[in-house]
Amino acid sequence: MRKFTIILLILTLAIGFAYAKKNQITCSGSTTVLPIAQAGAEAYMDAHPDVNISVRGGGSGVGIAALQNGTVQIANSSRPIKSKEVSACKAKGINPTPYAVANDGIAIVVHKSNHVKDLSVAQIKDIYTGKISNWKELGGASLPIVIVSRDVASGTFEVFNEKALNGAKVVASAQLLASNNAVVSAVESTPGAIGYAGLGYITPEVNIVSVERVTPSTSTVKDGSYKLSRKLYMYTNGKATGDVGSFIGWLQSAAGQKIVEEQGFISIR
């Protein structure tokens, strides 16, 4: 019995070492970028068995902090890095370098039963700052508006806040939910709700509202005519080289962007 245990122990160690010999890439960060990084890593590892990529979420801020501390090679971020973060990185000798890996549109969504089909940016701002509180003011049924927003620290909120609200404060009665999925499912089950989420998270169970008469789609996000769009990034320390460089390069290539599109995002090519 004891012999058996020892053999097992040696075997595990041997397998462990064999694994450690693989080229290890770790990336963490934005939950919005997570599905792209995950699906991309899986496909890349299938083609390159000698590389092992581990992907974690955590949030854009967590990813960039991890890059700054040198615990990951890639930080995923759904927003451009902030100047404060750049200086914190520089202080540690880290030089964050952005690689755009996907385009994303932030879609405004309402309940299936809602007849409002289009909103202007000004109307969206009035809703989220509490000036408009009933759908009848927007040509819909007489129903109080339930405002669903993302937590104020998320990359999605930041882009929405900047592009739709022009930096205005969201009214305190707005529900703040912690993920794209939570927003979509809350809107799905609440007749008076309005919410927003990355295009990759929109399900057929909610209605997409066009903004300034432009519906978010591959072409309108790419040419910039859809107002609420953004790029998703991977940050590396300095120029990405070696396995990290070839992984990001592959993700930006036609083959990688196909996976980006399969995940519901929009190609950068």
């Binding site: 934005s30 939950t31 979420g57 955590g58 949030g59 854009s60 801020g61 967590v62 960039i64 902090a65 700054q68 902030k82 404060k84 973060e85 914190a88 129903l143 109080p144 339930v146 937590d151 104020v152 620290a153 998320s154 990359g155 909120f157 930041e158 930096g167 404060k169 305190a172 009665s173 707005a174 529900q175 703040l176 939910l177 912690a178 939570a182 499912s185 809350a186 089950s189 609440t190 007749p191 008076g192 709700a193």
Partner: protein, 289 residues
């Protein structure tokens, strides 16, 4: 044998030391990370400020009053539901049930404690909240009522099992004396057993309070997350815990927002610390009696 004895002692000593070190490490780090906030934001502004806009571009605001009151409302709401249910089950299990029924009822109540909080949250979000919304014809089901019900269910096993312990330590002769004097079973329970077990029951309620105010997953999923003081039980709220959980992941490490989340952790820590202290004192008093 001597060596075994000694090494066992040393091991348990190290284990105890390790948890003490961990506790102090955590306390120290939340204070170190959180206190620098008060160089910029005054304590009064932090506790009584009514606007929580930590990431606003020009003028971020760090007032947690609405979040603090949200936490207190959710916790009191939970206790309103959990105290009668928990105490009721404790009385039933300890005083009324036949031994056979007790064998079934006790583990059933304790099973409530075995359900992970994320499962409670999922149940609340997907089933209870839509039900509440339709039942009362509301605009949203993610509100104080749903939160209180779910949190209350989570606290029931704590109050039930601790109160039951307290009730069962009431000496048998007290019940017998009461019944012998002609009191009914109901009179015996309310007039003799409950008063005798009072401190244990109060302790269980305090423990339940601590559990509810610290609970994060459920409030994150069910409370709706509006940073307002709910005007009725049908409005959304945002407790302290869910604010930390929702915002920590995306915040810039080391900036003011990050500090403010640790400052919230300090407030939560102080609340649970005082609650636990009071609960301990209540128990101590009972033990000394």
């Amino acid at each position: 044998m001597q060596i075994m004895e000694k090494s066992f002692k040393t091991l348990s000593y190290i284990a105890a030391l390790f948890s003490i070190a961990a506790v102090f490490g955590i306390i120290l780090s939340i204070f170190l990370e959180g206190l620098p906030l008060f160089k910029v934001v005054s304590i009064q502004e932090f506790i009584w400020g009514n606007a929580w806009y930590p990431t606003h571009g020009e003028a971020p605001q760090f007032g947690i009053r609405n979040l603090l009151i949200g936490s207190v409302y959710a916790t009191l709401g939970a206790l309103v539901i959990a105290v009668p249910l928990g105490l009721g089950s404790a009385i039933f299990i300890s005083e009324i049930a036949t031994p056979r029924l007790r064998e079934i009822a006790k583990p059933a109540v304790e099973l409530l404690a075995a359900i992970p909080s994320v499962v409670y949250g999922l149940f609340g979000m997907a089933i209870l909240a839509p039900f509440i919304r339709e039942l009362f014809d509301l605009s949203t089901g993610l509100n104080l009522l749903s939160t209180s019900i779910i949190l209350g269910l989570m606290v029931v096993p704590i109050i039930a099992s601790m109160s039951e312990d307290a009730l069962s330590t009431v000496p048998k002769h007290m019940r017998e004396a009461s019944l012998a004097l002609g009191a009914t079973q109901w009179e015996t329970i309310t007039g003799v057993v409950l008063p005798a077990a009072r401190s244990g029951i109060v302790g269980s309620v305090l423990q339940g309070f601590g559990r509810a105010i610290g609970e994060t997953m459920v409030v994150l999923m069910v409370a709706g997350g509006s940073a307002q003081i709910p005007g009725s039980i049908f409005e959304s709220l945002r407790p302290l815990t869910s604010t930390i959980a929702a915002e920590m992941g995306e915040t810039v490490m080391g900036d003011l927002h990050y500090r403010s989340l640790f400052a919230i952790a300090i407030v939560l820590f102080l609340i649970t610390f005082v609650t636990n202290l009071v609960a301990e004192l209540v128990f101590l008093k009972r033990r000394l009696k």
